[in-house]
Structures are given as structure tokens and as C-alpha cells.
């Protein structure tokens, strides 16, 4: 009976006290820890690559007439950071934040709102403005982006008309 007591006392003495008074004390996190993500709305294009990669549907896209919203709901997030991997602009940052308990569901949501480009011909809204601007800039090097801000449908119509004119003219 004495032996187990002595053994336990030795082990406990060597180890010291290892627990800490969390949450009054800091949590035990390493520098590699992955917590919730933050989306920098000023860099985001609204391209949706993160939504496609997200395994748990924490990132979704809500489309309305003239606005595309990128919605991050931390309640579904599995903190894998795949979105940050695939983000072409580096708008998504993985933070170390993990103390997310809240009484308000909205606290778990981050929404990035992108206005869409309006087609000058038919007036329909299509791609998010930053994405449209990016594509324009990219293509501007090759030549003048004549119908860049025209929606794909109108562009096709215009293109066909142009072709007919060329052939017929």
C-alpha cells in the first residue's frame, strides 16, 4: 500500500501543477493554430473560389439582383483553412481566434457585399465589380476591352451582329 502512494507522490512532485486557470489565464496555443477566418472585404473579388473549396458549407454565396454576398458562418466552419489556400487575392486570413461562444447567431456571421457590374445594353447585373475590374485590367494589356463591361449574353448578341455585318457588308 505504501509503494503506490510513494510512486504517485514522486510522479506528481516531478510534474508540478500543469493545469491553468483558463479562461482567466491564456490558453495553450502554438503559433500554428488555426482558428476562425477573416475576410478582407477591400481585397476580395467575390470570385467564389473559397466557396467551391469549403468542405463544410461555412462559406456560401447569396445572389440577389444587383448584389453578390459572400457569407461566412463560423458555426459551420471546421477551421481547415482551405479557403485561405485557394483564395487568389489573399483576402482570407486564418486567425487564432477560437473563443466563439455567443448568444447572438449573427455574431458568427461575416458578410462581404459586392455590387455587381451593370450591363450598359440590357441593364442586367452580372459579375461583382472588383472581379470585373480585375478582368478588365488583365485584358487591357492585350487590347481595348470594348465589350468588357457588357454581360455575356449581350456580348454574344453584339458579337454575332458584328460578324453578320462583316460578312454581309
Amino acid at each position: 500500500m505504501v509503494k503506490p502512494i510513494l510512486k504517485l507522490i514522486t510522479v506528481a512532485k516531478e510534474a508540478g501543477v500543469v493545469t491553468r486557470k483558463y479562461p482567466y489565464d491564456s490558453p495553450l496555443l502554438t503559433e500554428e493554430f488555426r482558428g476562425k477566418i477573416e475576410i478582407d472585404a477591400s481585397i476580395c473579388w467575390g470570385c467564389g473560389a473559397c466557396v467551391k473549396a469549403c468542405p463544410s458549407n461555412a462559406l456560401t454565396i447569396r445572389e440577389s439582383m444587383d448584389v453578390r454576398e459572400l457569407v461566412y458562418f463560423a458555426g459551420r466552419c471546421i477551421f481547415c483553412g482551405r479557403c485561405a489556400d485557394v483564395c487568389p487575392t489573399g483576402a482570407i486570413k486564418v486567425t487564432k481566434e477560437f473563443e466563439l461562444a455567443t448568444e447572438e447567431l449573427e455574431d458568427l456571421e461575416q458578410v462581404v457585399i459586392h455590387r455587381k457590374v451593370k450591363c450598359p445594353i440590357c441593364g442586367k447585373h452580372f459579375v461583382p465589380q472588383p472581379l470585373g475590374r480585375y478582368v478588365c485590367e488583365k485584358c487591357a494589356k492585350g487590347g481595348v476591352p470594348t465589350y468588357m463591361m457588357v454581360c455575356p449574353e449581350c456580348r454574344r448578341k453584339v458579337g454575332v451582329k458584328k460578324m453578320i455585318r462583316c460578312k454581309g457588308g
Binding site: A12, R34, P55
Partner: protein, 554 residues
Amino acid sequence: MNQHKDPLPERLRPIESLIREWLWIDRGRTIMLDVKRENLVEVARGLYKEIGAFFKTCAGVDERPLWGGYAVHHIFGIDEEGLDVVVYVRIPEKDYPWVPSIVREVPAADWCELEFRDLLGIDPRGRLTQRLVLPDDWPEEVKPLRKDVPYGYRPPRAEETKPAEVGMYPSGVPVGPYHPALHEPEYFELYVEGEEVVDVRYRGFHVHRGIEKLAESPRFDYNKVTFLAERICGICGFVHSCAYVMAVERAGKVEVPERAEYIRALLLEVERLHSHLLWLGVAAHLLGYDAGFMHAWRVREKTMILAEYLTGSRKTYGMNLVGGVRKDITPEKVPKILKVLEEVAKGTKKVADMIVSVPQVRKRLEGTGVLRKSDAAALSVVGPVARASGLNRDVRKDYPYLAYKDVSFKVPVYSEGDNLSRTLVRVEEIFESIEIIKQLLDRMPPGEVLNEEWDIEPGRYAVTSVEAPRGEDTHLLITGVGRPYRWRVRAPTYANIPALRPMLRGQELADAPITIASIDPCFSCTDRMLVIDVRTGKRSVLVTRPQVKVVSLG
């Protein structure tokens, strides 16, 4: 199918006449035998009894979109050859498919036959059947894994619930679904005389999550399923994610950088460390020795922090993708890893020694929960349970995968088959794992860790096995368009739970919790199959009150 015609291996000669055709797949790791339905029982007998293969699992597949019928894949493994043998049986009927049952020849096939009966409606003929995984109020005509059932299907709410049936003995002690010894909802009913357990009834599968069906659904793709697979189990999730990506990579012939294979193996061993230390603590707790519990977990905490340091997360590492891993282990991390390993080795030695030297702990581990070698072999048990009963089985040695062919380690085997040997196997494995990690760090080749250039053809096939802390975890995968066509998971606990019956019989009730725990059961691994409506709240015959109030006091 990825095939090339090579001769039948010598070991399979005795059943050659019963095989219609065979295919070698996956670079000689697997052979698929096309067997006529009427020959199935003979082939199973030959493989199990004469050739000495172990049974891994079976899977029913709805192959109607491919050729018009169903199929059953019985997966056997010949450990000595490192060869998986898939016995493939075509079932032409579209309406009432059936296969002969092989349970009499292969007792280990009991559950998986009931499972394809529940989920695909393929009837195993010539055996007693009952529902295994489907809840009692699930509509009879809906077979959830058939391709024509949408993955989001929810059955109507059951209005009538029938009370649980009372067992055949007068004195039942319910253990579960909620019980302090079981940390997950499972239900054991122990029939006792005095304090002696005379029989056991098991009712599991309370927490199906429909994962296999979900992986086939359009909202998943090959990479996303990796994260889903990791969530099969909260303790050995990385095992499942590895088994899954390896299956995809082997089926789709995806090149994986060697460094990635080393990192995967390393993390698998880190996971084993934490899992075994966790188990050691829980075992001590069940024996009333809480000091052992706390100290085992104190040591385990170091491995959890190590895992976070290497992957970014304490559990559900999120490291795997098809084609490699997401994060490299940079050279500057190595000294810290070695330091943690040193501390863990030292701590484990002291704590394990302390736990085993407590007289009550030792007395209650020694000679309790005995599983004889013959029973272990008949049930094809896996992992530490098999090794404690004298079966020298370890997937890492028998079917080398990832980087395990490049490291040397011992496989601890005991012949007693009691709770103490299962404890000692795990304790020794902790030290072996530490050695393996050191060797892996030493030999890790330089280079890339992720290959993202891949394209997977549909209709390819692979079987992979990974040694989880609890034993062999087997995945079967048939590729589809953009996502798996069929993905079957056989977690190690699935193979080990049937062994609890011989282990518990004749035991004292007091030792039942530690015996149940001695297989290191992971119920969420075992129950991964179904779409269940959580809102109806009615999952099965949950017994909320003790059914039998009188206990015979012997």
C-alpha cells in the same frame, strides 16, 4: 477496371476451379476474383479455412447504373502475402437481389451482411436476419444506399413506437446508451446471475451520420471528402482521412511525393501516441484509479500540442488532400519534435509503471476479459485485441503502406488474451511509435509535399488498409465522376465488438466496463452509415429506463 492479367498466386490455387476470372489491380496489392453466386460459399470456405485468409469486410454496391445489377464485394486479406483478395459476386436481379450468406464459414461476416441487407436490400440467404443499422421506424421499402434514393431523404416521423423487447434472462443490467463507462451512445445489455455476466446483447448504430451516402452526393468532391473522412472519428480521424486519400490515389493512379508519405506516416504515429495514452488514462479511470487517468492525460497533452504544432489543429488535423499533404514539416521544427518525444517517452514510462503497480489495477486486469486465440481468429479481430490474443497482425508490417516499409519496429504480441495483455500491447506500442517517428524524421526525403496535377478516371477500384490505434481500418473505393461512386469504410471497432461476447461471458459485472473498454471501442467510427432524422428524436429502441427492475442476487 485497372487491370493486367497475371497468373493466379500460388496461395489461391486450391480455389482456382471456382473462379470465373481474376484481375490484378493496384500494382499487385489486390486481386479481384470474379465468382459465380453458387460458388461463393465454397470460395469463402476455401479462403478462410484452407488458405488462412482473414476477413476484412464486405460491401454491397448498387451497380445498376454500370451494368444493370447489384454486386457484393467480400474483402479478404492474406497477411503473409500482403495481398487483399476481393471476392466479387454479381447479382443480376433488379428487384429482389440476394446472395448466399457466408456467415457459417466466416463468422466475421455477420455484421456486414446485415448491413448490405439494411442499406441496399441485398438479402443474405441462409441465415437469421434482423435489422442492424437502420432504426426500427425506418420505412421497409427505402434502401438508403441505392443510387435512386436521394442523399437528403428523410423518412416520415414514426408515430408509434414499440417498447424494447425484454431479453431472455430475468436479470438484465443495461449498460448504455448513456453510461459513464461508455463515452458514446451504445447499448449493452448484460445478463447477470449474482455478479457474474452470463450473456450479452449489443445494440449499436445509434449515431449514424450517413457519411458514405453523403460522400456520393453532388455537394462533395474528392478533396472535400478527405475532411469528411477525418470526421468519422474524433480520436483516429487522420487514419480515416489517410485511408481515404490513399484509396483515391491508388485507384486514380495519382503520384504522391515521397515526403508527403513520410509526413502522413509521422502524423499517424503522433495520433497513435495520443490515442493510446488516452486509452491508458480511461482504463485507469474505469478501475477507479483516477491518479493514473490524470497523469496519463497529462503526458498525452504534450502529444496534442505537438499535433497542433505540426498541423494547426489538436485533432482533425486537416492535413490530407488527394496528392499529398498541405503543410510541410520544416527542419526548424525537428528539434522541438524530438524534445517532446523524449518527454513523452519518459512520462509514459513512469506513468505506465505507476498504473500497473497499483495492486487493484493489476488484479482486475490480469485474467479478466480473456479472448482465446481461436475465437480471435474466427472473428478476424484486429489491432491490439488481436495481438494480445496471440495473432501477429499489424497492417504496417503485413501490407506496408506510406513510409512504413522504410522503418524498422517491433510488433508486440502476447498470448494471454486478457485485459492486461491488451494494456501492455498498447503501452509497448507507444514506445515503438516514438521510435518510428524518430526514424521517419531521420530519413525524410526532401522535396515537394503536394501534387495538385491529377485527373481521376471513373470506374477505378482500390482497397486500402491503415493500422489505426484500434486496429486495421479498411476502405474500399470505386471512383466516380468528380467524387467517389462508392466508398465503404470498415472501422476497426466494427471488427472487434463481436469479440466482446466471448470476452464478457463468465466475467464479474464489475469488470465489464474495463473489458468493454479494453477493445478501445470507438462507436462513432463504427456507426457512420445512415441518414437519420435527428429531429424526430426516435432512433431505435433506446432504453431510457432500466427494463428489468429486479436483479437476482444469486
